[in-house]
């Protein structure tokens, strides 16, 4: 029972990170049709922000704030310098642009900082544990879980209850109509990138707290999973991205925990096979966007 409870916490904790990254991808995709593979590098940049802040003697909490801010700044910078000029281009062009930006950032990280991982040493107490009904639960997974849910709830409130949130949702429906109505589209798109950077920054905080190091490839693999989550949830669907993130996280943890040793090398293949099966069943994703884009 303890093991099942613990693995459930693990699954939700990992799913929360995937959900945040998937939501960051989905927000941008829903508005400008860009699948931003540089999103992982924005997360990595946030991680390096934390590393450099700690290296310069900053206290851990302000360092984490700097990391999040760094990710937001990087997202806005990329929007202004790389993606704004490509707005309106077809999906493939945008995809290739995002790959190019991603590669450039990786090379910059490797040459300007280090090709190898750099350590992030947070206070020992942050890696502690506590007991609930006889079960030992880690502080970091719990904080990850709380932060992920708070962030998703906060974003949901912004999108549903604020004028800019409504503008973003309207932009996701029809950006041209939004312009005709006199809303500053550039501002809406920039805020969408900023929110996506914020989510990447929060994911970077959780990731580095759990993994203890940053390397140029840090963001690549989680964003790959997050992309799968957005496809599974339904491209362009914000709710679908969150659901997809949690489903992928749960599948990864459960297959890691309960597959027999002989099958464990096939874990990723099994997870992806299940995703394909789900997409055959629901080609537009689990929670498709209203103007669904087929995966």
């Amino acid at each position: 029972m303890d093991v099942i409870l613990q693995q459930t916490i693990n699954a939700i904790s990992l799913g929360g990170v995937y959900a945040m990254l998937a939501l960051g991808l989905a927000i941008v995709f829903s508005i400008v049709g860009l699948i931003n593979f540089a999103h992982g590098d924005i997360m990595t940049f946030g991680g390096y922000g934390i590393f450099l802040s700690l290296a310069f003697g900053m206290a851990p909490v302000p360092a984490l704030v700097v990391g999040i801010a760094a990710a937001v700044v990087m997202a806005l910078t990329l929007e202004r310098t790389a993606f704004r000029a490509m707005r309106g281009a077809d999906v493939v062009t945008l995809l290739i642009t995002s790959f190019a930006v991603s590669e450039i950032l990786k090379v910059v990280f490797q040459n300007a900082i280090s090709a190898r991982p750099v350590p992030i040493s947070l206070p020992a107490g942050w890696s502690g544990t506590y007991q609930v009904a006889g079960t030992t639960i880690g502080v970091v997974p719990t904080v990850s879980l709380v932060v992920a849910f708070t962030s998703l709830l906060g974003l949901s409130l912004v999108l549903r209850r604020t004028a800019i949130g409504m503008a973003m949702r309207a932009a996701a429906e029809d950006l041209e109509m939004l312009k005709l109505l006199g809303v500053r589209a550039n501002r809406v798109v920039a805020i969408a990138f900023a929110l996506s950077g914020l989510l990447a920054g929060i994911a970077a905080v959780i990731w580095t707290a759990q993994r203890g190091s940053v390397d140029p490839m840090m963001g690549f693999f989680p964003v790959l999973k997050a992309f799968i989550a957005t496809v599974l949830g339904g491209l362009g669907s914000l709710g679908g991205a969150v659901l997809g993130g949690f489903v992928i996280g749960a599948l990864e943890v459960l297959t890691q925990a309960f597959l027999p040793d002989s099958l464990s090398p096939y874990r990723d293949a099994i997870v992806l096979a299940l995703v394909i099966a789900a997409l055959l069943w629901r080609p537009d994703g689990l929670l498709p966007a209203r103007s669904a884009t087929r995966s």
Binding site: N10, A115, R211, V253
Partner: protein, 383 residues
């Protein structure tokens, strides 16, 4: 007349240049400048080139064969590695130094096999890599040597139950724990569980939960995981309140792992050498630092230098630079002199028998020397 003079002069110059070039010993170097191998290939190449430059300043290998290196980036991509090896052979390479892992070395060795060009890995330690052919060599103490020494130490410390964490994605991450398990069981220990992970796995919490639930509980956990997987694993392990002793391979001997703070306090790992005060290794560090401004903070630098010494001694023993003769001479070296440690290829499967160091990491980020030993070839776990 002028034309004839010019022609004669040009022809003579070309002949002389060709003669001078023929004396050069051409070494092709695969060095990943980016990707997962860059952290290992970079330092190894720096140490290698440093010692080659020193030799060249004294006339080359053994003072008689100036070395010309051809260095090509592989981007940690095996297909790219194969391509650059072929290019280096086309450019006259007589010896190939390959990337610091078994898989690219095995791929490179398939290309060098036809001409019998000796191929030596920067720091690949999986013993399987030399099984491609007689022309393939390791340079660092192999995983089975490291595992045998570490297992003997673990048993001496009274550890009886081990949990192995391994990844089938690379020969190193799979082989190390398995060799440890074989040696540990041969010494009376028991394997109480194993878990598999994928390279760059995002999350280790599920594995840690499985370890916590293992019955009986292990008294030591062994993994050959490298960065960034090891930091993620140890953070998850300690974060879940598991204080069990953790041991690992030489890949933990990095400033990144030592910089993780309290979570790595007490972690033990193998290593290829330790710079004792007054040792040749300490002298190398001082010399390299003075010359380049960079202080070597891992063994790949000095091992790169030792590869230059291995090549020099093999060429001396062969009495020629003909590739097959150099390979045969390398395979016969016994008690060759190195900076990190001495090396013996004779009687091995071309993974050199070298001393293995066991070290302990402290919470302050230091590395403490524990012991130095050479594995017994008779009891080494077989690949």
């Amino acid at each position: 007349m002028t034309f004839r003079t010019l022609l004669l002069t040009t022809t003579s110059a070309m002949v002389l240049a060709g003669a001078a070039g023929a004396e050069d010993y051409v070494i092709g170097v695969m060095s990943a400048q980016s990707g997962y191998l860059a952290p290992y290939d970079g330092p190894a190449y720096a140490g290698f080139q440093f010692c080659i430059d020193k030799m060249n300043a004294n006339g080359g290998l053994n003072g008689t064969h100036p070395v010309r290196t051809i260095v090509k980036d592989t981007r940690s991509d095996i297909a790219e590695g194969v391509k650059v090896v072929q290019e280096m052979i086309d450019d006259g390479a007589q010896f190939i130094v390959s990337s610091a892992d078994a898989d690219p070395t095995i791929a490179a060795a398939q290309i060098t096999m036809a001409d019998g060009i000796p191929t030596m890995t920067f720091a690949g330690t999986a013993p399987v890599l030399t099984q491609v052919g007689d022309h393939v060599f390791g340079s660092y103490p192999a995983d089975n040597q490291q595992a045998a020494v570490l297992a003997a130490y673990a048993r001496e410390q009274g550890f009886a139950k081990v949990y192995l964490v391994k990844s089938p994605d690379s020969a190193y991450t799979l082989g190390g724990p398995e060799y440890f398990g074989t040696a540990f069981e041969a010494l009376g220990g028991t394997i109480v569980g194993t878990s598999n992970y994928s390279l760059n796995q995002p999350d280790f919490s599920a594995i840690v939960t499985t370890i916590k639930a293992a019955e009986p509980q292990p008294d030591v956990i062994v993994t050959w995981a490298w960065e960034p997987d090891f930091p993620a694993f140890i953070k998850a392990l300690r974060g879940a309140g598991v204080a069990t002793q953790v041991m690992g391979g030489d890949v933990l001997d990095t400033p990144t792992v030592r910089g993780l703070g309290d979570v790595v306090d007490g972690v033990m790992h193998t290593s290829g050498g330790f710079p004792d005060e007054g040792s040749a290794y300490a002298g190398f560090i001082a010399e390299f630092t003075a010359a380049t401004g960079t202080t070597p903070d891992n063994n790949y630098y000095v091992n790169g230098c030792d590869i230059a010494h291995m090549i020099e001694q093999a060429v001396a023993a062969a009495g020629t630079t003909e590739p097959r003769a150099v390979a045969a001479a390398m395979a016969g070296i016994e008690n060759g002199k190195g900076v990190m440690s001495d090396f013996t290829f004779k009687g091995t499967d071309r993974m050199p028998l070298r001393e293995v160091v066991v070290a302990r990491i402290t919470g302050a980020g230091d590395k403490e020397f524990v012991l130095r030993a050479t594995a017994d070839p008779a009891t080494l776990p077989r690949p």
